[in-house]
């Protein structure tokens, strides 16, 4: 059996997070009643004209900058012509030869190894509608709500060599677009979809093999499965001496296989030409700089900062940056309490549990970073004990006041009054005479028991070290 290297490229379609569609004022939203978010413009009624939503352009540029792209100063809008019932104008307004963004690169992290995937181009385009096939027999229904929803298409170079790399690339692109605030990248809602181009070649071969395109993959899992299936299928064919034909395939999620959609001969001739209804986009250096300024610090920079400056380990750092809101919370928290590890630890161990279990939406954290930092500080400085700190966090998530206030109201504050501790210690010593005598007789283990009794009476509110000191002094006197 010969060995083959997979060569994989991806086209990612990401929905931009604008309020309105790309060429009309219809609202962009997910779900809802069919054909309620469309108008004469996005359904292509005669005489209507597309008017480019300028936010689409700035969001696409912002996404491009997040993916390290160059921005074309002059960009043109084109028509891609094909007949399909979900495409009301029978052409899609897209970009052909002068896209908004070109020549980017995205760093992916494959365990020990880091790798860059080059981004060939990013262009803007309108989404098509949706066909519903099952509602009535022998007919399909068209829902135009999605028509004209703004998309960016991100075309990578064929730089990926495995399904895992493709997955890492999609996750990184999605993360960067989320950081840039230009797309939600929710695959389950269709706001991120991918087409995969894949070919196999012998390690020594200079030329790429014949590529096959797999269309419309809408989950990370199906991207991975489709690629793995396709590698296997093509390997078998090549080993059997068969030729790969250039074609478009679809992935059947249920059966886990790809099947042919159309061959190269049946490929559409899209007859691209300049969209006469939309004037070309001119972008100045100032425009680009203004957009660049709006970008927050991105994933790779944050990782560097966390590991190199803050001394966090790589695993925790990656957990923190996986979610921008969490990473933002961390950054803000350490600005008021600069105990990098303690804050990170509290987020990773305690706070994220609520996020992961779906009890907390990281976009709607009900307390400020300052309040959170305060809580970590209280725990670290043993103003409250660790268990009570966790309890306070839970109450803060339920919307209760500041950590200080909660600790006070709940009686969680450590008691540092030596008099009170001494009183408790005296009480315990006089009550557990047998244990005290045992201890004094050399059963050192009994000290723990006496400590425990004191702590119990103090209800976790006293500093254990203080209890220990006072108890030791007391017992020493009795010796």
């Amino acid at each position: 059996m010969a060995n083959y290297i997979p060569v994989i490229g991806l086209e990612i379609h990401a929905q931009l997070l604008t309020n309105t569609k790309i060429f009309c004022n219809c609202e962009v939203d997910f779900g809802g009643e069919q054909n309620t978010r469309c108008c004469p413009v996005c359904t292509g009624l005669p005489g209507t004209l597309p008017v480019l939503n300028s936010q689409v352009v700035s969001y696409a540029i912002k996404g491009g900058l997040a993916l390290n792209c160059d921005i074309n100063r002059f960009s043109k809008i084109d028509r891609k012509n094909y007949f399909y019932p979900d495409l009301p104008k029978a052409y899609q307004i897209s970009q052909f030869d002068l896209p908004l963004c070109i020549d980017g690169k995205v760093k992916i992290d494959m365990g020990e190894e880091e790798k860059y995937i080059r981004v060939h181009r990013i262009h803007i385009e309108e989404d098509a509608g949706k066909l519903v096939h099952d509602d009535i027999e022998n007919a399909s229904l068209a829902d135009y709500n999605r028509c004209g929803v703004p998309l960016i298409e991100i075309v990578s170079e064929p730089d990926m060599g495995s399904a895992e790399e493709a997955k890492a690339y999609v996750e990184k692109v999605a993360g960067l677009l989320q950081y840039a605030g230009v797309s939600l990248c929710r695959m389950e809602e269709g706001s991120l979809r991918a087409d995969v181009n894949i070919s196999l070649k012998r390690p020594e071969a200079a030329k790429l093999g014949t590529k096959v395109e797999i269309k419309n993959l809408n989950s990370l899992k199906s991207i991975v499965r489709a690629i793995e299936y396709e590698i296997e299928r093509q390997t078998k064919m090549l080993n059997a001496g068969e030729e790969i034909i250039q074609e478009t395939r679809r992935f059947n999620d249920n059966r886990g296989v790809t099947t042919s959609m159309r061959s190269k001969e049946d490929a559409h001739d899209y007859r691209y030409f300049k969209e006469p209804d939309v004037i070309p986009v001119s972008i100045t250096d100032d425009d680009i700089e203004a957009i660049r300024k709006e970008l927050p610090m991105l994933i790779d920079e944050r990782l560097d900062l966390y590991t190199k400056e803050y001394g966090l380990n790589k695993a925790d750092s990656k957990i923190l940056v996986a979610n921008k809101e969490i990473s933002d919370l961390y950054n803000e928290s350490i600005s008021s309490y600069a105990n990098y590890k303690a804050v990170a630890n509290f987020i990773v161990v305690d706070l994220l549990r609520y996020v992961n279990e779906g009890e907390l939406d990281s976009k709607n954290i009900p307390f400020t970073a300052a309040e959170f930092a305060e809580l970590v500080k209280m725990a670290e400085e043993e103003v409250v004990n660790k268990n009570n700190a966790k309890a306070i966090l839970k109450m803060m998530l339920e919307g209760k006041k500041s950590p200080q206030q909660i600790a006070k109201d709940e009686g969680f504050l450590m008691n540092d009054s030596a008099d009170e501790i001494e009183e408790v210690v005296n009480g315990v010593v006089s009550e557990f005479t047998a244990e005290v005598e045992g201890y004094l007789a050399g059963k050192e283990k009994l000290f723990g028991f006496l400590m425990g009794q004191c702590s119990k009476r103090l209800a976790g509110r006293a500093n254990p070290k203080m209890i220990k000191d006072i108890l030791e002094q007391k017992l020493a006197k009795l010796k």
């Binding site: 292509g44 005669p46 005489g47 004209l49 399909s140 007859r271 004037i279």
Partner: protein, 482 residues
């Protein structure tokens, strides 16, 4: 002088001085349409009820002293401009049942002044043609000779104005569709600078050339209408922000203006009667103190090919939406999507429309794109450059509007190449996006009107109107006999 012979400015005065009400004026025109339109077939839809209602509003407005330039003036609209609640057919079976839920911006602007829309007038199907004989509904005839074509594609507009069945009309011009019928019907028609009037609501033919403009009895009336319908529109990204004052130069002396005559427009293929009438008009301008300069436009020989490639390419895409799914004609009993769309388009479109869709699809197809569409865009740049060269030294250009006067129905419509070549005098203006106007400068032996075109720099529409108006002031037109 009959009421219908009056200009918009004269009607304005009569309305404002309460010599006549808009309701009376509207009834008068509706009555004329009733009596006369049977001879020329210009109206596809007469909007009697709506017109009378608007007239009433106009009268109220006039009574309050709040009339604007077109308040109460009866106007017809080419049937490719969307009118809310009123069928808009585009001269095609395909849109026979299409009632738009919105107005074209130009129409909205007229209605905002309570201009009275008498009805929707005929046109070549999807504005493709120069004879109005490809209309699925009314094959309009020429008021000067009912055996002849009125020109096209805005033939219904031109004929309705020439026959005085409307005080003015809105037409659209993609390759001469306002100017050529204005010439054939002996009136004035203007295509303003591309982008001056919003295209929103104008059913698209070739988006980069399409432009709405007026057909009326004079350059002055055209200026008045353009002042109302022009201006930037948020619904049209290609509409210009620059506001043009169309009447700013009307009546100003043309002494010293340099008028260019490109020699290629006076060569073979242009009728002698047309040539001599236009040259005679040029001599008139000279008498008025203008300077006549002979210039050259070598790329004119490529203009027809370039125009038909670009316009048809855009049309093939613009007309792809007519698939019988969402609006318009839909073939009955189709079993599959493919069958439905194929039969709908086969049955819904006429021959000329299909010819251009095929031509345009071919021109854009891979393997042919470079040889046809791309070369046509190159010719477009050449033509623009040549116009720029002429306008570096001249103020306006004078050419014939069409190589001939109105021809007999059936004479050349069967020969598409001959039909296309007849657009030679008008298409370069659309290719370059310039303002141009046709006015009547004489009559041939058969008594058919001869059109002369005035072409100006982009956004210098005012000079075009000034030059045309100067000629019109001293030229006496002959009314058609109906």
């Amino acid at each position: 002088m009959e009421l219908c012979d009056k200009s918009i400015l004269e009607l304005r005065q009569m309305l404002d001085q309460k010599e006549i009400s808009s309701s009376e004026l509207t009834k008068y025109y509706l009555d004329r349409i009733n009596k006369i339109d049977g001879q020329i077939n210009s109206y596809i839809t007469v909007c009697e009820e709506e017109a009378l209602k608007t007239a009433e509003n106009a009268d109220n407005r006039i009574a309050k002293g709040e009339a604007s330039a077109l308040t109460g003036i009866p106007i017809s609209i080419k049937d490719n401009m969307c009118t809310e609640g009123i069928r808009t057919t585009c001269g095609s079976k395909m849109l026979g049942n299409f009632v738009p839920p919105y107005n074209a911006t130009a129409v909205s602007k007229l209605l905002a002044e309570d201009a009275v829309i008498l009805g929707k007038v005929s046109m070549d199907e999807f504005a493709m043609g120069g004879s109005t004989q490809t209309s699925y509904y009314k094959k309009t005839t020429n008021p000067y000779d009912k055996a002849r074509v009125p020109g096209g594609s805005s033939g219904g507009s031109a004929a309705s104005v020439a026959a005085k069945l409307s005080a003015a009309s809105l037409g659209s011009d993609t390759g001469g569709s306002i100017r050529q019928p204005a010439a054939f019907c002996g009136i004035t028609g203007m295509k303003p600078t591309y982008g001056a009037v919003s295209r929103f609501g104008l059913v698209a033919f070739a988006s980069s050339f399409d432009q709405i403009g007026p057909l009326a009895h004079s350059a002055k009336d055209c200026a008045g209408i353009l002042n109302v319908i022009s201006g930037h529109d948020v619904n049209d990204g290609t509409s210009e922000r620059q506001k043009i004052d169309f009447s700013s130069k009307l009546g100003k002396d043309i002494k010293g203006l340099k008028l260019a005559l490109p020699k290629e427009f006076f060569g073979d293929g242009i009728d002698e009667s047309v040539k001599s009438a236009v040259l005679k008009a040029a001599a008139e301008y000279e008498k008025m103190g203008a300077k006549i300069v002979e210039v050259s436009m070598p790329s004119l020989k490529y203009a027809i090919a370039a125009y038909y490639l670009i316009a048809s390419a855009e049309a093939s895409s613009n007309l792809a939406r007519y698939d019988g799914i969402k609006f318009g004609y839909c073939t009955p009993d189709a079993k599959t999507y493919d069958e439905r769309i194929t039969r709908t388009r086969k049955e819904g479109f006429g021959e000329e429309v299909k010819r251009r869709i095929l031509l345009g699809t071919y021109a854009l197809s891979s393997g042919y794109y470079d040889a046809y569409y791309k070369k046509a865009l190159y010719v477009q740049q050449k033509i623009k450059a040549e116009y720029k060269g002429i306008f570096d030294t001249c103020d306006a250009i004078i050419t014939p509007t069409a190589p001939t006067t109105a021809y007999k129905i059936g004479e050349i419509e069967g020969d598409p190449v001959k039909m296309y070549l007849a657009d030679i005098c008008t298409v370069t203006v659309n290719i370059a996006g310039l303002p141009a106007l046709s006015t009547t400068c004489g009559y041939d032996n058969a008594g058919m009107p001869i059109g002369m075109s005035v072409v100006g720099k982009a956004f210098d529409d005012a000079t075009v109107l000034q030059v045309a108006d100067a000629f019109e002031t001293s030229f006496k037109r002959i009314n058609p006999k109906l």
